[in-house]
């Protein structure tokens, strides 16, 4: 992409906040597109999932019957792009009757891909989520 040629010196912390469920609206899909591009810029990229956004990560999604593309498998590839932190809010899961086990297993290679895989999903409580948000330079909401 030609417009990626920018001054690479600055590295900012980008947080992509996902608060919407997949399929019903396009936000989840187009947010993911933006995440992948952001990662390609060598920026420090994290994702946050709260409220209905946690539904984006549930297991067993299959959108074939509604004629759409299933979004969730793409999260599995995030590790390859260096996106290794997917913060999920515990309260949001609980409110929706979900547990950590309902979520997909998403991992990334441990340093240089030598010794096995590390889970990417980090379940945090609400207070910690507030801190995560405050820690980032850019908060992009979709």
């Amino acid at each position: 992409m030609s417009d990626t040629a920018i001054a690479p010196k600055i590295i900012k912390k980008f947080l992509y906040v996902n608060r919407k469920a997949p399929y019903g609206t396009i936000y989840a899909l187009e947010a993911l597109e933006a995440v992948l591009i952001g990662a390609a810029f060598d920026q420090d990229v994290s994702l946050a999932f709260l409220d209905d956004g946690v539904f984006q990560l549930t297991k067993g999604q299959n959108a074939r019957a509604i004629g759409m593309k299933t979004v969730s498998p793409a999260f599995g590839a995030l590790g390859d792009f260096g996106v290794t932190r997917l913060y999920v809010e515990a309260e949001s899961l609980a409110e929706r009757g979900l547990t950590r086990d309902d979520l997909m297993i998403i991992t990334h290679d441990f340093e240089n891909g030598t010794t096995g895989e590390v889970p990417s999903i980090i379940v945090v409580d609400r207070a910690r989520m507030s801190n995560v948000m405050a820690e980032h330079d850019i908060v992009l909401t979709f």
Partner: protein, 100 residues
């Protein structure tokens, strides 16, 4: 951090979620349909009254005027701002987050 909320609290949970995540020193600006939240005596206003100490709450005056919300109806402790004030708030906080 500056939070913006733009949806009516009676339609969406954005305001509730936002307030749940706002911490001491944060500011929240209510814009567009979110300004309905600041009318005295509504169920939504209770939430606002109960919100974290140390969070400043602002409401966009032009959006109030457009919706015919009289200043007298505003719950106490809310600051009314115009677009210029909104800009100042954005500048005053190192980051902002929109609760859509």
């Amino acid at each position: 951090m500056l939070h913006t909320v733009n949806a009516s609290p009676f339609e969406r949970t954005a305001l509730t979620c936002c307030l749940a995540h706002a911490v001491n020193g944060d500011a929240v600006v209510l814009i567009e349909d979110a300004v309905y939240a600041v009318v005295k005596g509504s169920t939504a206003s209770a939430e606002i009254v109960a919100m974290t100490e140390g969070v400043d709450l602002y409401v966009l005056g032009p959006d109030l005027a457009a919706r015919g919300i009289n200043r007298a109806k505003l719950i106490a402790g809310i600051t009314e701002i115009d677009y210029a004030g909104f800009v100042d708030l954005v500048v005053a906080h190192t980051s902002s987050q929109a609760w859509l």
